[in-house]
């Protein structure tokens, strides 16, 4: 009898497309996801492994600093190196941006004397970054270690000063800064700060993905329930226009989605504030530089645009959900249709999460901005390191227009005669799988 029971269970499950379609989708989606993530990460990784363009400001101009510069050149870590004698930080930044330098190393005046007095000089290294990616391509730590090693070697080989093991191991105090030219801000810290930025840049798309998917499924399910329970038939016989019925459905779902989105946004802001306050307390004070706390990287205008974009994206997802629900004669069909549609959000979301959006080609970038579902994800990453683009308003309007067109098309469908036909077609398609 056990055999028969197992057979019954197996047949019952395997004949249900709801069971095996997700398996097939997973089998197809996972390699696709890997491809998308790896292509997003490829650029980020290449940023670390390629030699850098380095600008050195040698304010000490001694045998030691010349030794350091010569050795930097022969390490293979440097693609282009320019040596200047400029103390003006703003000028150095300008040169770095205009000539495409990724790292600025400042060998301060008196560095050699400090070393010879068995003291640790300050070494300032600035990463010049334009965008954030999953793996931040920050070179300061590499050059900091290199210069430390070189000074340690130099001390051992050349001078017979009173050396301690600690001094040889760590002959300089490195001050790591990050300059973000797109918003003309300098923040303290190198990779440590950017762990937070990277985490945030991943968490924001994930959060938006969760919100948009939840809205889609909620709207699709609630509309499909109307079909399944035949309450939609009642609504369609009321002396109320179809458009109003649809709009009521949509705006009701959207209002719930909005509350959910706002709760998520509040949670996210608290998360950033908590992280920022911890990092602020860990950040050493640095004199001579205008330093920006990490949280203030996200400018107010950008945050407003982001919230508007998220609201419009939720609206579009609610509209799409209602459309799916209208096409589905029951909740199971709505769920079957929703799964591949959700992938349209998830896959570009993965790409945005892991890619360096600053290095995307213009067509792809604009496409991601134009699609309401991906817009808040890419915007969330960009506003960290740049002011909102002038085209942002246009993208927001595009997102809204997408929803309007979808609503108008769905309102055309919202005639029982058409619904019955379309739902039969969808059911036949679904049955056709088995």
């Amino acid at each position: 009898m056990l055999k028969e029971l197992i057979h019954k269970e197996f047949k019952d499950l395997v004949r249900d497309p709801r069971i095996w379609i997700p398996f097939i989708i997973s089998a197809l989606v996972l390699p696709l996801t890997g491809l998308i993530i790896s292509s997003g990460m490829r650029e980020s990784i290449s940023g670390i492994t390629t030699p850098s363009n380095v600008l050195v400001s040698d304010l000490d101009n001694t045998q030691l600093t010349k030794y350091l510069i010569n050795n930097l050149n022969i390490t293979g870590l440097v693609a282009k190196l320019e040596v200047v004698n400029i103390s003006d930080m703003e000028l150095l930044k300008d040169i770095a941006v205009s000539s495409g330098y990724e790292v600025i190393i400042i060998l301060t005046s008196g560095l050699t004397n400090t070393v010879l007095n068995s003291l640790r000089p300050n070494l300032t290294i600035i990463d010049v970054v334009k965008s954030v990616s999953f793996i931040p391509s920050l070179k300061s730590s590499i050059f900091s270690s290199l210069i430390s090693d070189l000074i340690g070697d130099y001390l051992l080989k050349t001078y017979n000063v009173s050396l301690t093991l600690d001094l040889v191991k760590q002959p300089v105090n490195t001050v790591s800064l990050t300059y973000i030219p797109t918003i003309n801000q300098t923040v303290v810290g190198g990779s440590r700060i950017f762990v937070q930025v990277s985490m945030t840049s991943i968490l924001m798309p994930i959060m938006f993905m969760i919100i948009t998917i939840t809205v889609l499924q909620m709207a699709a399910t609630s509309t499909a329930i109307e079909n399944e329970e035949k309450t939609l038939e009642v609504l369609l016989t009321l002396p109320v226009s179809r458009f109003k019925i649809l709009l009521g459905k949509l705006l009701g779902s959207f209002a719930v989605a909005l509350l959910g989105s706002l709760a998520s946004i509040v949670g996210f802001i608290i998360y950033i504030l908590m992280f920022s306050s911890i990092l602020q307390s860990m950040t050493p004070t640095t004199e001579g530089f205008s330093i920006t706390p990490i949280f203030s990287l996200i400018n107010f205008k950008g945050m407003v645009y982001l919230i508007v974009s998220l609201v419009l994206s939720s609206f579009a997802m609610a509209a799409l959900g209602v459309t799916i629900g209208v096409l589905s004669s029951d909740v199971r069909i709505a769920s079957t249709i929703s799964s591949p549609v959700v992938m349209l959000v998830v896959l570009p979301g993965y790409y945005i999460m892991f890619a360096d959006v600053g290095k995307l080609n213009v067509t792809l970038k604009y496409l991601l901005y134009a699609i309401p579902f991906t817009q808040p994800m890419i915007m969330a990453k960009e506003i960290m390191f740049s002011s909102p683009e002038e085209l942002t308003i246009l993208w927001l309007v595009t997102s809204f227009m997408f929803s309007l067109v979808l609503i108008l098309l769905t309102s055309q469908l919202l005639r029982f005669e058409k619904l019955v036909r379309v739902q039969r077609f969808v059911s036949r398609l679904r049955r056709g799988y088995t």
Binding site: E229, K230, E233, T237, L238, P239, E417, R424
Partner: protein, 246 residues
């Protein structure tokens, strides 16, 4: 002489090559409780959906108070209410909220809305439970909510597709009494479909029997029973459908 309220003429409905209704014609008069009977798949729900402006006929016409259900669907919807077979309820809203929503769809002035809701509350007779979420209601209570919803707006024509299906004897009887009393008091014309011949015989003054999309007979219930020399409507139903299918 009572006037014709619903006029169905040569109505045909095809679904993907299948003829669900085949030249069906009949009239329903003001104040009638008109029973549409027939075996499963006879076309009763299709016919009701056409009258309720949900489906479009392939050919033929159907009018309600002279308004064509296709051309004047907006006007027809102001005159009718429709109770689909097995219709559910919104699980997380209360019966009171639901009745209010429906009242607002039919009436604009707040006094009319209040009057309509008041009638609904009275007809429903749920007491304090009217403010409970409808998911807590039994099947019978939910069905009663939907029947009351269809009646309380005092439609000219109420189209009720199997209003007592799946209900126990007590609930079925209470719904039948509700419909009968409402029709008598408000002169509402009611179209009912049902598989319960006892129910149709007790409730409907006139009936139409359809099978495989065709009208077999139509007339006053008592006259038909007497004319065919049968004991009741059930016997008449069985005999005519069997003969028709033979």
């Amino acid at each position: 002489m009572t006037s014709v309220v619903v006029e169905v003429k040569d109505l045909v409905k095809d679904y993907d090559g299948f003829r669900a209704l085949n030249k069906v014609s009949f009239n329903v008069y003001e104040g009638d409780i008109f029973g549409l009977i027939g075996p499963n798949g006879a076309g009763k729900t299709t016919l009701f959906r056409i009258l309720a402006t949900l489906l479009l006929p392939t050919s033929g016409t159907a009018t309600i108070y002279g308004y064509d259900v296709v051309r004047d669907s907006g006007k027809v919807r102001k005159l009718i209410t429709y109770l689909p077979e097995d219709v559910g309820v919104y699980r997380n809203i209360t019966a009171y909220e639901y009745l209010r929503l429906i009242a607002k769809a039919y009436y604009t002035s707040s006094s009319d809305v209040e009057e309509c809701v008041e009638l609904g509350v009275k007809l429903l007779g749920l007491g304090g439970r009217i403010h409970d979420k409808m998911k807590t209601y039994s099947k019978g209570m939910r069905r009663r909510v939907q029947v009351v919803r269809a009646l309380m707006v005092r439609p000219k024509v109420a189209i009720l597709d199997e209003p007592t299906v799946g209900l126990d004897v007590i609930y079925s009887q209470s719904i039948r009494e509700l419909i009968k009393e409402f029709s008598r008091v408000y002169r509402t014309t009611v179209l009912i479909s049902s598989h319960n011949m006892f129910e149709v015989e007790g409730l409907c003054n006139r009936v139409a029997l359809i099978s495989k999309g065709r009208l077999i007979i139509e007339g006053f219930t008592e006259e038909l029973i007497s004319k065919y020399g049968v004991k009741n409507l059930e016997e008449l139903f069985v005999r005519l459908v069997r003969d028709f299918n033979a």
